[in-house]
Amino acid sequence: VNHQQAWDLIPWLVNDTLESAEREELEQHLADCPHCRGELQAQRALLQAIIAGPRVEAMPRASLQKLWARIDARTAPSASRQPPGPRRRAASSWRIAAAAGVMLLLVASLLFLLLPAQQQQTDEFRTVTDSVAGPAGEGIRAVFAGEMPLQELQSLLERTGLTVVAGPTASGVFTLGPATPAHDAHAALPALRAHPAVRFAEPVGP
């Protein structure tokens, strides 16, 4: 290497990232060039001063929560549109209720899929048997297998006449209620429990 090339290589000898061939050539040049040797010493001093500088550490936890808030706000825009706005009352009310239920289920399932592990540390700790402030009347608290496909969950709820009333909580607990007043939520328990992807299903309330 000539003098200029050697000069340009010095920082990478200093931070120890030179390939061995380049390193050898540079070392040969350094042996004959006091000017480059002086620069090598100066750059070593500069690197030492830089890495000896004040080190301030940031804590990742709070920053990560901000990141999740941002991701959730931008990747699940449908969630922010809940509840649906007022609609014309022309259609029969239970159809609207069913449609809203499906929407809610979709959003709830999406949240369930996207549920951050982090939240489990920050959310109030709650077990599946604790009582939660939920809608009045009968209901079921249920936990589904994480790998259960959304469509399967939907069809199970349709078959059993249930809809998602609340949840999932940080620990994945859904509160289910009757899809229409004509349905009996507690009567759906056996069918629910028989499903292989239902990890837990218990009646809530009185």
Partner: protein, 187 residues
């Protein structure tokens, strides 16, 4: 020195990116924790403000969340991530430059002289000289000396030819030359 990870961890990080592309939140958290310390130390050197470091790190991971599926292994994962952080940091530094210049002038009005010659004053003097470098030159120097990246890696991170990286380092070294006699004592 936080040197570039060996290839085994690069493979693991590439797998994390695949999981992130499939919207695996645990994978994003794992990568976040692996990089937060490294990135925050780097960014807090550039601007000692937590809000700046926070903003750049989260901007970087917001891009990673959206673009993880586009990583094709053309570089190491760490180089790819540093490249995203570099562009975000450069943009934030440029945006803050005017604001900082005004603040600096205000500070200079009532500044105390650090002429005692002790280690703290030397650090202040170096920090001041580093702040006066153009952003690209300063970032090249920090990437090389603080982060320990090779010239070729810095070329990938900054999206520049190797010759440009060498030129930026050359100019940064020239401008910092007036600090060197003092630093010589610290060597």
């Amino acid at each position: 020195m936080p040197r570039v990870s060996p290839s085994t961890s690069d493979c693991q990080e590439a797998l994390l990116l695949q999981r992130i592309a499939a919207r695996d939140r645990h994978a994003l958290e794992e990568l976040y924790h692996a990089y937060h310390r490294r990135l925050s130390r780097f960014l807090l050197r550039l601007a000692p403000r937590y809000d700046f470091a926070d903003e750049v790190i989260n901007d970087t991971f917001w891009v990673i969340w959206r673009k993880a599926g586009e990583f094709r292994g053309a570089s190491q994962v760490s180089t790819w991530i540093m490249g995203i952080a570099y562009r975000r940091a450069l943009r934030a530094l440029r945006a803050a430059r005017h604001e900082d210049a005004v603040a600096q002038r205000l500070r200079d009005g009532g500044a105390e002289d650090h002429d005692s010659g002790d280690a703290v004053a030397t650090q202040d003097w170096l920090a001041q000289a580093m702040r006066e470098l153009p952003e690209e030159q300063r970032l090249a120097l920090e990437l090389a000396y603080f982060m320990g990246h090779s010239c070729e890696e810095i070329a990938v991170i900054t999206g520049c030819p190797v010759g440009t990286v060498k030129a930026r380092m050359f100019h940064a070294r020239e401008k910092l030359r007036r600090c060197l006699p003092q630093l010589g004592g610290a060597a």
